[in-house]
């Protein structure tokens, strides 16, 4: 523990160092580490797919312990899709294994001469030839590595999409947990790094066993008593498909509609009754929101961990597909190729709308499942239409005049499933998120959970924060969620324990960390660390040329009201929220962190004017 593993792929060398104290005290771990590395080591002019980009895989200080749902890891690098800060995190069992091997983070630079994988067996670290793995999908890669090293190793790997530098390729853990966003898999591919295989067998002690275990039990009790625990543990994120349809925001036909005509065929209950076999958990998680599924009848036979809400929408309603079996098959293909389902599905949906509007000559029909599956093959191999789709929505739109308004991206990152017209806190969060069009930076579910006006006042000082359709009262709520969200991503605690159930609060995380690492953390310390991470990411993006004009949303959400449903006619007015957000953050009216703010947070300004 407390070690960094530095890997220089160009020179074929590795070395181990202690983690600087400042990293642990000020940036916690996980996303805090990956963003700190980017800020310190990556220049504005670094080509994301060049050997100069730095790929960091970081665990959190609670990884490997009984702390609830704390087994995640984050991969960070400069994004080939956005040219800005990129990162993606994932659950599963890889993060804890890396920590059991004795490393809190692996920092990878350079480019190997040929296909390579990194093998870590406790202290033994080796770069090995991966020629026999190159060209294989994620599933085969894992199988071959397990045959070589034993079933007890844990693996992250890229598929063909990462090898072929698709800018939204992901990195897969165990074949079904995706570090999915911003193209971290393409950066891994550009380094000729196919996989990291880890076996770890060292102990992770905690400073105060008794109080730590008592705190874990307390967190378990709070989680299980929360009203949303039952739904999430039973249906996982798929319950959100039902909630989205009910609120009129089930993104359909590239967000032209918020009600999906085939909703009944993809609802969580239908899924439960037809293809789901079991609920599964990530390491140390009592929520077990993952679902294992099997389709036995042709033509879409498949068996794997099933799709999440994001995939059910982006490869389902957003492209008009109402066949549950086809969506499961698409999910499996995307996982095997190592493709971000959000970016892939949204790119296909964009193409379909271009066709619908006659902006391109080719005819593509909404709901054509065969076409969607074919696109996934072609994107991963950059073949035919796949070469165009693989560029992502922003680059595609640049070549099709008249399509900007419905190109669903922010800063180049395709937008997730949630329709932000049905949640104004989400709208603000996605407009300003440091990795582009992303809901997880803020994830202000508080506005969606039918909280009372009194709860709104108690939590964020305003009753308006519980009404998802108004712009007022959202800024304070979003800033708190962003700061605490950065803490969760850095401690590597799943946000479904903190922003879906609201069971585990900053003081709980402070207690878990205090009892685990033996350093006193307060709630204020943690939220300051979260704010520090948000600010360092903002500074990195500004260095890379982002401007406040990029803090926006597609015109569809700003000017087009939904045609029907509870959110009928609603649009987003960002101008009502952005100035208050910037000042609430202590930034200038142009959205730049002030010198005073940076000094307060102990961030050294560098690389920006």
């Amino acid at each position: 523990m407390d070690r960094l593993l530095w890997v220089d792929l160009t020179g074929g060398r590795t070395r181990k160092t202690r983690i600087p104290e400042e990293w642990k005290s000020c940036y916690l771990g996980g996303r805090g580490f990956t963003s700190k590395v980017l800020y310190d080591l990556v220049d504005a002019d670094t080509d994301p797919l060049s050997p100069d980009n730095v790929l960091t895989v970081a665990t959190g200080p609670l990884d490997g312990t009984l702390s609830p749902s704390s087994g995640r890891f984050t991969v960070g690098c400069k994004s080939p899709l956005t040219g800005l800060l990129g990162d993606a995190n994932s659950g599963g069992h890889f993060g804890p294994e890396l920590r059991f091997a004795g490393y809190d983070a692996v920092i990878i630079r350079g480019r190997a001469k040929g296909p390579t994988y990194l093998f870590i067996d406790d202290d033994h670290v080796e770069l090995r030839d991966a020629s026999h793995l190159w060209g294989h999908g994620v599933f085969d890669t894992i199988k071959l590595l397990e045959e070589a090293h034993g079933k007890d190793i844990k693996i992250i790997a890229i598929g063909q999409a990462g090898e072929n530098l698709v800018p939204y390729a992901n990195i897969m853990a165990a074949g079904h947990n995706a570090a999915g966003r911003t193209g971290v898999g393409a950066v891994m591919g550009s380094k000729n790094l196919k996989a990291i295989a880890v076996r770890g067998s060292s102990d992770i002690p905690v400073a105060d066993d008794e109080r730590f275990l008592a705190k874990v039990r307390e967190c378990h009790r709070k989680l299980m008593a929360d009203p949303t625990y039952q739904d999430f543990s039973e249906y996982g994120t798929l319950i959100l498909v039902d909630i989205a349809q009910a609120s009129g925001g089930l993104s359909t036909r590239n967000g032209q509609l918020g009600l999906f005509e085939h909703y009944e065929k993809i609802s969580s209950h239908i899924y439960q009754e037809t293809y789901k076999l079991a609920s599964k958990a990530c390491f140390s998680c009592i929520l077990h929101c993952k679902n294992y599924a099997r389709v036995t009848s042709p033509p879409y036979e498949c068996e794997n961990m099933g799709p999440e809400y994001e995939t059910m929408v982006t490869l389902g309603s957003r492209v008009g597909v109402g066949s549950l079996a086809a969506i499961l098959k698409a999910n499996q293909l995307a996982n095997d190729y190592g493709l971000d389902t959000i970016s892939a599905g949204t790119s296909i949906a964009f193409l379909m709308e271009c066709s619908q509007r006659g902006l391109i000559d080719e005819k593509y029909e909404w709901g054509d499942a065969e076409f969607v599956l074919d696109c996934l093959h072609k994107i991963a191999h950059r073949d035919g239409i796949g070469e165009f789709l693989a560029r992502g929505v922003r680059a595609m739109s640049a070549e099709i005049p008249g399509s900007e308004g419905f190109a669903l991206h922010v800063k180049g990152l395709e937008l997730p499933a949630f329709d932000v017209r049905t949640g104004k806190g989400f709208a603000l969060g996605e407009a300003v998120a440091s990795r582009g069009g992303d809901h997880l930076r803020a994830l202000p579910n508080f506005e969606l959970l039918s909280k009372t006006r009194e709860e709104g006042i108690r939590w964020f000082g305003t009753p308006d924060c519980v009404n998802p359709y108004t712009e007022s009262g959202k800024v304070g709520m979003v800033i708190w969620h962003e700061n605490y969200g950065a803490v969760c991503d850095s401690a590597e605690i799943c946000k479904y324990c903190t922003f879906a159930t609201y069971a585990i609060m900053p003081q709980d995380v402070a207690d878990l960390l205090t009892f685990a690492v033996g350093r006193e953390y307060s709630e204020a310390d943690l939220l300051a660390a979260g704010e520090r991470i948000v600010n360092i990411e903002r500074m990195f993006n500004l260095r890379c040329g982002m401007t406040p004009r990029d803090d926006t949303l597609p015109r569809r959400f700003l000017q087009e009201g939904l045609p029907e449903g509870p959110a009928k006619g609603v649009t987003v007015d960002l101008a009502k929220m952005l100035p208050e957000y910037y000042s609430g953050r202590g930034w200038t009216k142009d959205g730049v962190p002030t010198r005073e703010k940076l000094e307060e947070l102990g961030i050294e300004a560098k690389g920006v004017a």
Partner: protein, 144 residues
């Protein structure tokens, strides 16, 4: 979802409650392994756990001593390092030379060696930590 419950009775110790395992309920979170390792070794390390959960597809398989009544592990030990005491297998670490004969004799795969230590579940003397930290109910105690 499949619902056919197949509950394996794991433990038949003389005085303690029976420990059962229902694979249909197991999510594979591995909290039982973590609870076991911290209870016995003061640190988290699944490889030190005397209980192990292995995922096969969507099914979790358990490896743990089920305290069976004929305990062939004891008969297999040529050095007298294992003894039966009121439902618990006692290990004399000084006498054990880690030969693995007991492991070969155990039909449930419940004995392992890690870090030169023979690992056999002692059911935490009747109050097993693995059950305490199992929130799905896959591991449970049943009064005899």
């Amino acid at each position: 979802m499949a619902t056919s419950a197949s509950v394996d009775v794991l433990t038949r110790g003389n005085n303690w409650d029976i420990r059962t395992f229902n694979p249909e309920k197991c999510s594979g979170c591995r909290n039982c392994e973590l609870a076991c390792s911290i209870a016995h070794f003061g640190a988290f390390n699944p490889r030190r756990a005397r209980i192990q959960v292995l995922r096969q597809g969507c099914r979790e398989e358990i490896r743990v001593c089920n305290h069976c009544e004929d305990h062939p592990c004891i008969a297999a030990c040529k050095r007298g390092a294992l003894a039966w005491d009121d439902g618990e297998i006692l290990v004399d670490d000084a006498a054990c030379n880690l030969c693995g004969d007991c492991i070969a004799a155990c039909a449930s795969g419940g004995i392992r060696i890690f870090d030169e230590t023979l690992l056999i579940c002692d059911l935490c003397h009747g109050d097993p930590m693995c059950v305490k930290f199992c929130t799905t109910g896959a591991l449970a105690l049943k009064a005899r």
